[in-house]
């Protein structure tokens, strides 16, 4: 009877995981999906606590301590972390999950080597696999965290010929695993520790050469590793929900990793052995020693979709890209989602007086949406997101604060008073006046490189998906 209940609970938990992930993949339902999955997890944990068990002293106190301490740490960390640091946090959590699997494997191995337990070859293999994968996930995730957080720079950890070192390390780890299997219980804890250290080292080394910008992909990959280690641990304990949940995460994580690579227009292999690439081929956002931060289409579209007010600042680039109709489409879409959209028209934007007026009239933007310099500067203070579409000189803060600048004294659109800035242009090249624009390096600013029409069309697509 109880056993049936436990089994049923696990079944419900497993279905909750599947359905939760499913819901997580659509913006409308994502939040519900997460809650569903967490309920599934709660049910599974509860069931495990009350499940009838043969032999063993229950030791509920120890469990309680573990749950409270772990839960507390997790909760506080999750609540305290800044919005922008969330990916790092996920990486840490993932590493801990991997570590947990490794600990379980160690516990099994200790019992095995001190003779309190026997294992078949298959089972030993599974345990070693759990240890290896969990350990790789642990150190890999921790390094990913360090890189994302900016504590560890690529140059600190990339060795020359890193790919070769990785291959050697991998061979060593695998050889150790085989050796441990051949030796069986004769191997002893010493060799086990060597294996553990090698695994941890490999995890670190595996992530080291991968460029900082690729970290989200790596975290996703390591997450699927953690899933596999959980599944393997499920095999050790003959527990279905660990198996199902682990496999699910393994599969989902893998496909997610591939999707993320796709979204970056790269292959997974390219990311993993990207160590070489990431050092060379300077990013588009670099200019001199300053680096402008890039936005992804996704970031930008979120900033648009969830804004209350958006200001477009069109410039000559809008005309060159002939993006006025696409811009109007984006406008309509945002207005349809209760975003207040306005256009800030700088008097000298474009290449002839009234250039922007001509374009926007062509796209049927109603006149009341167009603000001139003064009105726009007043409105910018209360604007959530400014999108600068192929403008440059007209938003150059040097006009106000750099007496050496050739445009010093010209009134410009003070876009930096808004909460977020997104600049759509193709490169870091200057505009008509031929001068560099410090705005691009402003902390509020993110560059979205590419032809303005292209970029806007992508934004339209993305916003439609939300």
């Amino acid at each position: 009877m109880l056993i049936s209940l436990i089994n049923l609970s696990y079944l419900i938990g497993a279905v909750a995981f599947v359905w939760g992930l499913r819901l997580l993949s659509s913006p409308d339902t994502a939040r519900r999906g997460n809650i569903l999955a967490s309920i599934g997890m709660g049910i599974a944990i509860l069931a495990t606590l009350v499940a009838p068990i043969s032999g063993g002293d229950n030791n509920y106190l120890w469990i309680l301590i573990g749950l409270v301490v772990g839960g507390g740490i997790g909760w506080v960390a999750a609540k305290r972390i800044a919005m922008t640091a969330m990916p790092q946090m996920v990486s840490v959590f993932n590493g801990l999950g991997g570590a947990c699997a490794t600990v379980l494997a160690l516990a099994e191995l200790f019992k095995y080597y001190d003779g309190t337990m026997t294992m078949g070859l298959g089972q030993l293999g599974i345990v070693l696999f759990t240890l290896l994968i969990g350990a790789v996930s642990f150190t890999g995730s921790m390094l990913a965290f360090g890189k994302l957080d900016g504590r560890i720079k690529d140059k600190h950890v990339i060795l020359p010929g890193h790919t070769i070192i990785n291959i050697i390390l991998l061979v060593v780890v695998l050889a150790l695993a085989v050796w441990l299997m051949i030796q069986g219980s004769a191997a002893g804890t010493g060799l086990m520790v060597v294996f553990l250290v090698a695994s941890l080292l490999y995890g670190f080394s595996f992530v080291a050469p991968i460029g900082g910008a690729d970290m989200p992909v790596v975290i996703s990959l390591l997450n699927s590793f953690t899933g596999l280690s959980a599944a393997a641990a499920g095999l050790i304990y003959g527990n279905q929900i660990m198996l199902v949940g682990g496999i699910l995460v393994g599969a989902a994580g893998t496909i997610l990793t591939v999707l993320m690579c796709d979204a970056m227009n790269r292959s997974l292999l390219n990311v993993i052995i990207g160590g070489f690439g990431s050092a060379g081929g300077g990013s588009k956002g670099e200019s001199g020693d300053q680096v402008a931060k890039e936005a992804t289409v996704t970031d930008a579209s979120i900033q648009l979709f969830y804004a209350n007010s958006v200001m477009f600042v069109p410039g000559y680039g809008l005309a060159v890209a002939q993006a006025q109709k696409a811009l109007k489409e984006l406008d309509d879409l945002l207005e349809g989602n209760n975003v207040d959209v306005k256009y800030a028209i700088h008097p000298v934007a474009g290449r002839m007086p009234g250039h922007m007026n001509v374009l926007l009239a062509e796209a049927d933007v109603p006149y009341p949406k167009l603000l001139d310099l003064e009105d726009a500067n007043a409105a910018l203070k209360d604007t959530d997101t400014v999108v600068i579409v192929g403008a440059n000189d007209v938003v150059n803060p040097a006009a106000l604060d750099d007496p050496g600048s050739p445009i010093y004294g010209m009134p410009v659109l003070e876009v930096w008073n808004a909460k977020n800035i997104i600049v759509l242009k193709r490169s870091m090249s200057p505009g008509y006046a031929g001068i560099q624009n410090p705005l691009f390096f402003h902390e509020k600013n993110r560059m979205l490189f590419g032809d303005a029409k292209d970029s806007i069309q992508k934004l339209v697509q993305e916003v439609k998906n939300m």
């Binding site: 700088h346 008097p347 009234g354 922007m356 007026n357 001509v358 009239a361 167009l370």
Partner: protein, 356 residues
Amino acid sequence: MRIGVLKEQSDKRVAIVPAVAKKLADLGATLQIESGAGANAGYDNNAYDGANIIDRAAVLQRSDVLISINPLPEDELKSLQKNTLLISEFKPFFDKDVSERLKTQGLRAISMDMIPRTTLAQSMDVLSSMASIAGYKAVLTAANILPRYFPMMITAAGSIKPSKVLILGAGVAGLQAIATAKRLGAQVEAFDTRTAAKQEVESLGARFVEVAGAKEDTGAGGYAVEQDEDFIKRQREEVQKRAMNADVIITTAQVRGRKAPILVPSSTVEKMKPGSVIVDLAASTGGNCELTQDRQTIQHKGVFIVGNSALADEMPEDASTLYANNLLNFLKLIIKEGELNLDFENEIVQSAFITH
């Protein structure tokens, strides 16, 4: 059958252009064109090859059918042979006894402005083609006179607001005016008493000024019916309100066979900004603006009032082409195998024939 085409006396257009002349010849007619007839419209005598180019007197005497846009001067009618068929715009609704006068002279007459405004007859409808040109030209004229920009301009030397254009009467000319003014970047409002007009105005992306209580026009064949006093009063008030803000007013409101309604009284004109422009396309029937002088452009307290209702004349080449095509489509209806073949059962022929 000899078709004579006359040179207009005070009009740059010509009723038949060379391309149409050729097609008429194909219908079996002999073309006799007054020398220099097309000169002002860009067609010199050589262009009409195949046709006889002769002097006016000869055309008048030797034609079975005589075509001109504007009716012949009365004195020339005497020189015509009996039974000659005249084709012109006789405007019998205004010149009420023209039909009688012609009859007493023993002439037959078709008035092109009497062709019914039906879907079927639209290809012969010179009122439509000319009104369309007038609407287009009215906006260009206004834009040319207005001392301000039509479109909005945010420039380094200051921001210019878009001009406000008010169109009164959204018939063919009014609609074309709306379209043209919108193209030039003005803010366009329009008004008409027909109920269908609201949708038509909006179908061009302009705003419709609403005044409640207009009389319905169903059954009047597409022409507007006259509205009652109270309505016209309220409407005038509304127009006055808009006019004070308008940079350009283009009026096209006509009621068939009557003096055009006054939609813009002097008091309104005086409240407009100096430099503003009124183009009154109803000038020939009295004008929609109280101050309009037919065929003249005047200035009243700084406001320009253009009283030219024959704007098509100022685009003579395309106007002539369209006019000639309309004529051709009509002539195809009444010419069979090179001879006149008048079928008075036919609604179009019947309406157009004012004297027979």
